[in-house]
Symmetry: C2
Subunit: 456 residues, 2 copies
Amino acid sequence: MTERLAPLTLPSPGAEGVCTSIEEFHDWWAQRHAAGRFEVTQIPFDRLDTWQFEQRTGNLRHASGRFFTIEGLQVRDGGVATRSQPIINQPEIGVLGIVVKEFDGVLHCLMQAKMEPGNVNTLQLSPTVQATRSNYTQVHRGSNTRYLEYFTGPERGTVLVDVLQSEQGAWFWRKRNRNIVVQVTGDVPVHEDFRWLTLAQIRELMRVDNLVNMDSRTVLSCMPFVDPESIQPTDEFTAALARSYGDAPALHTTGEILSWFTEAKTRCDWHARLIPLSGVANWSRDDHEIADDEQRDFRIIAVEVAAGNREVSRWTQPLLYPRGQGLAVFVARPIGGVLHLLVHARPEFGLLDSIEMAPTVQLQPGESESAAHPFLKDVATGDLGRVRYDAVLSEEGGRFYHALTRYRIVEVGEEFPIEVPEDFCWMTVRQLMDLLRHGHYLNIEARSLLACVYSL
Amino acid sequence: MTERLAPLTLPSPGAEGVCTSIEEFHDWWAQRHAAGRFEVTQIPFDRLDTWQFEQRTGNLRHASGRFFTIEGLQVRDGGVATRSQPIINQPEIGVLGIVVKEFDGVLHCLMQAKMEPGNVNTLQLSPTVQATRSNYTQVHRGSNTRYLEYFTGPERGTVLVDVLQSEQGAWFWRKRNRNIVVQVTGDVPVHEDFRWLTLAQIRELMRVDNLVNMDSRTVLSCMPFVDPESIQPTDEFTAALARSYGDAPALHTTGEILSWFTEAKTRCDWHARLIPLSGVANWSRDDHEIADDEQRDFRIIAVEVAAGNREVSRWTQPLLYPRGQGLAVFVARPIGGVLHLLVHARPEFGLLDSIEMAPTVQLQPGESESAAHPFLKDVATGDLGRVRYDAVLSEEGGRFYHALTRYRIVEVGEEFPIEVPEDFCWMTVRQLMDLLRHGHYLNIEARSLLACVYSL
């Protein structure tokens, strides 16, 4: 086996794409905005079409038994029942796929202008294909999913990335999607909702609020096509960043990182199970929402959607509606001249394997940093370090309503300790990229932030 | 990051250990056999001491709520309830650890002569430490676990291996254990139940029926300290085997293998949940056992154990008692002069992530090879190829009663197709060794067989 478990390096020059200039992109985007009709109205649960509360369990489910279900989650800690909450159970594995192709030696991604009912601004930049299994096996009898044949057919392209990755462990029960990138060489007809963009262009667009959607970000994080040599170090930070992509010595070996992660999982003494939604304590349902009695957590609501360019033109569905904005911050510190990110082994009740690697600080909407790690309070409040990336990005608009997270990358120096609590570990960008070939390592927020790192 | 995701290479010369000759080993083993008192008697369930059937669920559980529980498993395939069965739920992560140390430049493992109630021959060769969390947090108020401080304390040795690996997906609900190897340099007092053995000695002992226990095998499989240069090729097979440990070109790249595995998981349309044991269809309980009505599957029984060298000297517990012997076969074929093993992406209802990589043929006790893959029938019946390894080895004697599996490695040539069905894939030994740094890839039977491969 000569192949190394390491990222590919593909050329990806400046923001002037061969196919689409940034001006053309903005024109196209405005056009797509104008073309799309998309009305989202909150409705009472009893106006949901093909969704109903199951008598015995209180679970909210689709008549077909597919798509997803709103059920209950019960956590037991050391054998004692603690937290319970509603959770989205979507056991099917969907496809998040990007088709890539070289034009004049430059890699381009076929990106989609896609409307989702929960998006705060309707339209966001999405992968080529974003399809649940129900979508592409057509449980809802809509039209075919465009470009799906490039990923699943016998004539599919060369697979560059193909890995199952988790989604929000706070809101989803063990959900994973297939993150897949295929490279094609033949002609690809470009539908009006799609454009070829270079990685450099997409990375530039990553700095715009609520533009590049969550599904794009996770696939992009698994596409570590960054050539460290192509980074022009303008200061110590970018020089340290460039080294972080390469073979420069890291604070910890991969063996140490894997052992640290195993240790964190072993310490974990809680277990989560699905329970009937009606068995969730301290949450209630009225005509319009399911909410916690303290009104601090998310709500489950129902909406009616009328659209022009979706697979079917009108439907109703439940959505999860968080109260306020989340926060995800990676603290980045040069160590020995190499940029390291401070990773947190973070338990999330909905994750398949209980713990994944998360940003240094990750706060659910409404949550504040605990006093357990005082050095993180300053990170959360923004009182520490130099902000290198700062944008508000949206989470999955097909399941969440107006779910926004503020993503930040904060550079710190020697004022920040290298010695960290046992559930934290410093890693280079390259080490994180290597782990992304496998599932069960980086959580969705860490992957989103890693895609932001690529844009620095 | 200069470290490669690749096995260490440590010296491990011939079977003459620096510390213990093979003759001394056999003397010690006979002594341990003579020293141990261990009586195992099947008893009716109502004579279980601190175990009882929970009224509401019918689950069989320990009074402390810890150790493990016998519950029910329900599989739904495409939404339809199919198989249900009893299953062992042991959510805690235990430690399977081997302490290693160099003597005169040769790596030695501190191995234990350990009695388990389910062992067909009482005593088997075990890791240095084999402890559930309940063991080492002393839920049962027994003595301390010997040598545990080398793995968990602040003064522990250098960690060489540290990974969570699954156990039998047919019998356990999502069980994992921490496979850990630490290297020490200081003096280690050797208790009479322990001996230092070289890897070469242990690999020789792997050829003896029911000697090296399952817990040793899984840790050994994750210790890929094989120097390809040290293998003296005596024929084409061993030459191809030596190349299979190294960087020789494999039929598939790692990327292709990971994509194949992702694809297999994506195809999987069943989901398993825990249900109350009393809800399992077509299984019944009498005074002495829980069994399926057709009497083809395993039974749950209760035993009383009287022992001299366990943490406590007398106890009762349930055990899972299979009917007959299992079979696990790796088909091995030189491809381009490099030995490849034929790996099966095999669904098992109790696995955390539904599918892991399994031997070419893996049959539960009582099961026969289906007609779906005709070329495998000949492998299962032994009508094909040249047998390179053949031994009957025991599965976990702490949970299973007389659970034996026949492990075989069968060499095939050009009569065996390179083109295989979509749920199979050819891999080199090195590729499998690289995957073992991570959990969720090789199942316990494949890991056992890989430990056998190291002994070839």
